[in-house]
């Protein structure tokens, strides 16, 4: 269930990848949101396990992570809460977290437990491929994908190494910087995507700083998937989050499909 490669192989349009921070505002709400994201059209979901020092995240996800930790969220609690997620959600699910919580949990046990509840892969932004052998081998043993990140400044040789090691898809970081909603889009995006495309036949997904349907529409034709995080997390703090989230994801999805309503901005 939820094979990442299969989802890309069968795709008819650019995929929408949605991120949320587990435990913000509560684990119960996170689980409801996961179901709602699938219903509203998300193709893959990134489940953020909160960390005390989320280095690549901007203010929105930092705040959500802090709140989640205040709520007593831990990696074991996240896994426990998700134990029957596969009875509710079919699309691929990835864990996004930082390496130390996984290292303390034990890479092998973390992979076994993640795989056991139906998780399909990991995104660990502070774990470079040079240091990831331990987790990568454990992940392979449990049929879990390892998604590595490439930034516009990544040198060619390193890009080739990341390409070789990535499975599922390759995460293109649209901007040099941290996550968070931004106005507009960075320049040289097409050039960046083209450079990576030349080095790989694996699916490319673009994230960081993308939050509006207009932005999604602008980039959708160049990549295989678009990742939206902070825009979703911002809504999770609101009272009326269900209605707003559902509408927002539908709009993003429509923009992924090339919906012309957004082309003019």
């Amino acid at each position: 269930m939820g094979d990442i490669s299969a989802v890309f192989a069968e795709k008819k349009h650019t995929l929408l990848i949605a991120y949320l921070t587990l435990g913000y505002p509560s684990l119960e709400v996170s689980l409801q949101a996961v179901r709602l994201l699938e219903e509203s059209g998300a193709d893959i979901i990134e489940l953020g396990i909160p960390f005390s020092d989320p280095l690549v995240d901007g203010a929105t996800i930092q705040q959500a992570s802090y709140q989640a930790l205040q709520n007593g969220i831990t990696p074991p609690k996240c896994l426990e809460a998700l134990h029957s997620i596969r009875e509710q959600v079919k699309i691929p699910l990835l864990f996004m977290s930082y390496y130390n919580p996984i290292y303390q949990y034990g890479p092998e046990k973390f992979c076994a437990d993640s795989s056991g509840i139906g998780i399909n892969g990991f995104i660990i932004p502070d774990l470079p491929p040079e240091e990831s052998v331990l987790l990568e081998q454990a992940a392979k043993g449990h049929d879990l994908d390892m998604v590595y990140l490439v930034a516009p400044g990544t040198p060619q040789k390193r890009l080739e190494e990341i390409e070789r090691r990535s499975s599922g898809f390759i995460y293109l970081v649209s901007v040099e910087g941290v996550t968070g909603t931004r106005q507009g889009l960075p320049g040289h995006l097409e050039e960046f995507v083209a450079r990576v495309r030349k080095a790989t036949s694996k699916p490319l997904c673009l994230g960081f700083g993308i939050s509006t349907p207009y932005q999604v529409n602008q980039v959708a034709k160049d990549v295989d998937g678009v990742i939206v995080g902070s825009g979703i997390v911002e809504l999770m703090g609101r009272n009326d989050w269900q209605r707003e989230l559902s509408q927002y994801v539908r709009d993003l999805k429509s923009a992924c499909n090339g919906g012309s309503a957004y082309a003019a901005g």
């Binding site: 020092d53 280095l55 690549v56 930092q62 130390n100 919580p101 901007v175 910087g177």
Partner: protein, 344 residues
């Protein structure tokens, strides 16, 4: 001082407090700033805890005509206010970090975030022997001048190598700098002194090596103060420069091989040592460096020494030689010391 403290032997102070800007930090700041210029970077971003690194970086940037942005925790800005003024006077802009424990850990986080957003033009001038490769190695190499000078000077002065070298350890840059040239000299004992805060039992300290476990933080694998889930813990030390939950990976290594020992000294002991050095020698040390001094003065040296068989080159020598790295001067700490005097 040694006599008054009842110590047999000679204590030498490595006077890094006499360096320009008042601490060993300038060794590394100047070195990296020159590299940044060489790489064609126009801007420097840095974190600072006690403010000594911030002042050193601001001075290096002033002289090399580089833009300079310093991140500092709000708590540290309050307790090290004189350094905030100095950083500003040197033409750097200073950004207050207002979340978490509002100390060094958060300042490092923010400096990293700034840097990745601006990596083409900006160099991150990390101030301690921590962070991702090559920072721990680079900082150690720039600070190793301390140890080289000690070696040359002590041979000249005493005619032999010291028995013990003692240095405070937060991230560990002054300690690795003074230790490094002596690592092959196995008869020389190396002692790192961590911040015991207000007590090791209650968790209010910053002793990563003594109380932390191995983890991955800020890009390196080392001893980290963390909870069972791998979340990084808040620390406490009276000394802002030691108030950090990690430690340079090379210290973690020296601990595991047994080449260096790591001990702890609490806030009050460090304050006492600062007062003692001030009154006996007329030198006001930084509270960071006072931790190293306190270990020697409070007899930790004697007690452990008796338990350990003497070995090596100097077993027949009667007079022991101890070198304490006086890594910085204490002007910045007048507010804290004054407050405590008031309480006393």
């Amino acid at each position: 001082m040694a006599e008054l403290a009842g110590i047999e032997g000679t204590i030498y102070l490595k006077r890094e407090d006499l360096l320009h800007t008042g601490a060993h930090k300038i060794n590394n700041a100047m070195g990296q700033a020159l590299l940044a210029r060489k790489m064609g970077k126009r801007r420097i971003v840095a974190e600072t805890g006690a403010g000594q690194h911030g002042v050193a970086v601001a001075a290096a940037c002033a002289v090399l005509d580089l833009d300079c942005i310093i991140y500092m925790g709000e708590e540290d800005m309050q307790r090290q206010a004189p350094n905030v003024s100095r950083i500003k006077l040197l033409g750097a802009s200073i950004k207050a970090v207002q979340y978490g424990s509002r100390t060094l850990k958060e300042a490092v986080n923010e400096a990293f975030r700034h840097w990745v957003a601006d990596v083409k033009d900006t160099h991150y001038l990390l101030g301690s022997a921590v962070g991702p490769h090559p920072f721990p190695v680079m900082v150690r190499d720039f600070q190793a001048v301390i140890g080289r000078e000690v070696k040359e000077q002590i041979l000249c002065e005493a005619g032999r190598l010291p028995d013990e070298i003692v240095a405070c350890v937060g991230g560990g840059s002054n300690a690795i700098g003074i230790f490094y040239p002596f690592i092959p000299d196995e008869a020389v004992g190396l002692v790192g002194v961590e911040a015991g805060g207000i007590g090791m039992e209650n968790g209010n300290h910053a002793a990563s090596i003594n109380a932390g476990k191995v983890g991955i933080f800020h890009g390196s694998r080392s001893n980290i103060l963390q909870d069972n889930y791998g979340f990084i813990q808040s620390t406490h030390s009276i000394s802002a420069g030691l108030d950090y939950p990690g430690v340079g990976p090379e210290h973690s290594h020296l601990k595991s091989t047994g080449r260096a020992r790591y001990v702890t000294v609490e806030d009050e002991e460090a304050l006492d040592a600062a007062r003692f050095l001030s009154r006996t020698e007329g030198i006001i040390p930084a509270l960071e460096s006072a931790h190293a001094l306190a270990y020697v003065l409070h007899g930790g040296f004697h007690k452990e020494r008796e338990a350990l068989p003497r070995k090596g080159l100097h077993s027949n020598e009667t007079e022991r030689i101890i070198v304490v790295n006086l890594s910085g001067r204490g002007d910045k700490d007048m507010g804290i010391i004054g407050e405590r005097e008031g309480e006393g």
